[in-house]
């Protein structure tokens, strides 16, 4: 467009025609009714299974079969949750917590260090190669390399332990984390690094005192993204563990389902209970994300 669009450069047009005619009708045609109705229809599609899940988890199994499945329970009960908890739920939950936290913390730290090094040492050939390998790694699906990973875990004598799930989880969180964190560190103004150096800070000190706080929103994003993926991971626990002692929540869900069978409310309770922590994390992280982004440090 020309730099002076407001003066009405389209002079070949009759000026009367661009006058605001029929504002009400105009607004009506402006409305994106296809997108709008689709938006609401999609909301129903998304919410119906979730709504059904939650209300069913509070029904008694006897009541479930005789009531309308989409109506809330007439006699609210917590017995399904009790049944799930009695079936070793706490252990599976703790296993998932250990795996997720145990993978997230080291994965985030080493990814952040690598991202910092790759951005700051842009001219270094070795760091360039490392970056290239991480980019290549984005294209490697976990499923495709699961057999050699299984072999490595057996050789390390870690089969059927929680570490067996943690180690590959860390490795497969690295490529995307480095990419996202690197893009963010790149946005930190060069003058800030320069002034840190004038003050005699080492690279190590600059990383922790300058880059780390400034990268916080990206760190939160990376942590949430990886936490969801690891918490929900099914393939690694399925292949790298076998005893119920080491099962994480997604595996436990599958065994709950075969155990509870036709007790649909108990199945619903187990799914609801496993989903709550990650929804809570999202709820907390969302606010942190927003406050981090609106803190206004970079713009």
């Amino acid at each position: 467009m020309t730099p002076t669009p407001s003066t009405g450069t389209g002079t070949h047009r009759a000026p009367a025609k661009t006058a605001p005619s029929r504002p009400v009708g105009r607004r009506f045609t402006d409305r994106n009714w296809i997108g709008g109705s689709l938006g609401w229809v999609w909301l129903v599609i998304v919410m119906v299974p979730l709504y059904w899940l939650v209300i069913t988890s509070f029904k008694t199994s006897a009541n479930y079969f005789i009531t309308n499945p989409l109506l809330p329970p007439s006699d609210l009960t917590f017995e399904n949750y009790q049944l799930v908890v009695e079936n070793d739920f706490i252990r599976y939950f703790m296993n998932s917590v250990i795996v997720t936290v145990g993978a997230i913390i080291p994965a985030t730290l080493i990814s952040f260090m690598a991202a910092y090094a790759i951005v700051r040492g842009a001219g270094n050939r070795f760091l360039k190669t490392i970056n290239g390998i991480f980019l290549l790694g984005l294209a490697i699906p976990l499923q495709a390399v699961i057999i050699p990973v299984y072999l490595i875990i057996i050789k390390m004598e870690l089969y059927d332990t929680l570490q067996a799930i943690i180690l590959p989880s860390i490795a497969f969180a690295i490529p995307l984390s480095v990419l996202v964190l690197g893009n963010f560190i790149r946005d930190v103004p060069k003058e800030l690094f320069e002034s840190m150096r004038m003050d005699g800070a080492t690279e190590w000190g600059t990383m922790w005192r300058l880059a780390f706080p400034l990268t916080r929103p990206a760190l939160v994003t990376v942590i949430i993204y990886n936490a969801v993926g690891i918490w929900n991971g099914y393939l690694l626990p399925l292949i790298l563990t076998q005893s119920p002692d080491q099962a994480t929540i997604p595996l436990a869900l599958a065994s709950f389902q075969s155990e509870f069978g036709v007790n649909v409310p108990a199945v619903a309770a187990s799914v609801t209970l496993t989903t709550v922590p990650i929804v809570l994390l999202y709820a907390i992280g969302r606010r942190q994300l927003v406050s981090g982004l609106t803190a206004g440090f970079s713009k």
Partner: protein, 309 residues
């Protein structure tokens, strides 16, 4: 930005931070992540190729190199054509269903208003659930005896959704879309928000309606985002395993037995790690080939990778 300030300071010290001592410090910083990823990512990538030329039952310590035996076994397996067909079907159908819906929902969400923000929060929820949880929910919900259809007494809803071959694949596509459309609409939402408002203003002055604006501005501007999102969808569909495994375990019969499922069954149930590795190699090659193909269609490959991500 204060981009005018630095020249005054420059020159006092060598500006190349990569050289000298700090360079080696930086290499040390990158090393832990590098070692970790090489060990569990790159070595297994070579390992899977090596194992596809070997025989191993997954339990015994004995792994023998047996040349092309595993490849012959994998390629002549009577189940392979079906697995390829099912994989293709899932890929094509899930793309056809997800892409238009994601674009429309993303465009809808891109306009800022409070209720749309609220909807976006709710849309996001399926992304937080594990594939196992989603599969179990739908299994219960669609059960012909205990599910929604039976409970409501609605004949049309009360099908054996997961028990009949043609219905099972359609149900799978629906569940996949339910799970992943939120993610792709977020990508499109971000991309639509980057389209300059002046383009729409210009179109409005020229008298273009909303439909016309969508097809003449929004869609063409989304071209690279469509390539990115499609690449993620298509390559991602190759690796659907958890969802299919918990939902149908490949059944009924072999109607939803995709390549990833067949790989698992061959390797970890039939103890044929060699042929299973061959299928894994096929998965990697098909995935790489498809993403290269989509890049070529997209043209500007580099930008499309970054857009909306």
């Amino acid at each position: 930005m204060t981009s005018l300030a630095p020249p005054v300071v420059r020159g006092q010290e060598p500006t190349r931070s990569s050289g000298g001592r700090s360079g080696s410090v930086l290499v040390w910083m990158a090393l832990p992540a590098f070692v970790m990823f090489v060990f569990f990512g790159i070595i297994p990538l070579f390992g899977v190729v090596a194992l596809s030329f070997a025989t191993w039952n997954g339990i015994s310590p004995e792994i023998k190199l047996t040349g092309l035996d595993s490849w012959t076994a994998a390629l002549t397996n009577p189940n392979l054509p079906n697995a390829l067909w099912v994989t293709f079907l899932i890929m094509a159908l899930s793309w056809l269903v997800q892409t238009p819906l994601s674009i429309l929902i993303g465009t809808f969400m891109a306009r800022q208003s409070r209720y749309r923000g609220f909807l976006a929060v709710l849309y996001f929820i399926p992304l937080l659930l594990s594939s196992a949880a989603i599969a179990i929910t739908y299994k219960s919900l669609l059960d012909p005896n205990f599910g929604l259809g039976a409970g409501l007494g609605v004949e049309a809803l009360n099908q054996n959704w997961l028990g009949e071959a043609s219905l099972a694949i359609a149900t799978l596509i629906f569940v996949v879309s339910w799970q992943f459309i939120p993610f792709h609409s977020l990508i499109y939402q971000g991309a639509v928000r980057q389209i300059p408002a002046s383009m729409y203003e210009a179109a409005q002055i020229d008298g273009a309606g909303r439909m016309r604006q969508f097809f003449s501005i929004t869609l063409p501007q989304l071209k690279y985002t469509i390539i990115t999102s499609s690449t993620l969808m298509v390559v991602g569909s190759l690796t659907f395993f958890d969802l299919i495994w918990v939902l149908t375990a490949g059944g009924p019969g072999d109607s939803t037995r995709a390549l990833a499922v067949q790989m698992y069954q061959l390797g970890f149930q039939a103890s044929l790690m060699g042929p299973a590795s061959a299928i894994a190699v096929i998965l990697v090659l098909v995935g790489l080939g498809l993403s290269l193909l989509l890049r070529r269609i997209g043209g500007r490959a580099d930008q499309s990778q970054l857009e909306g991500a």
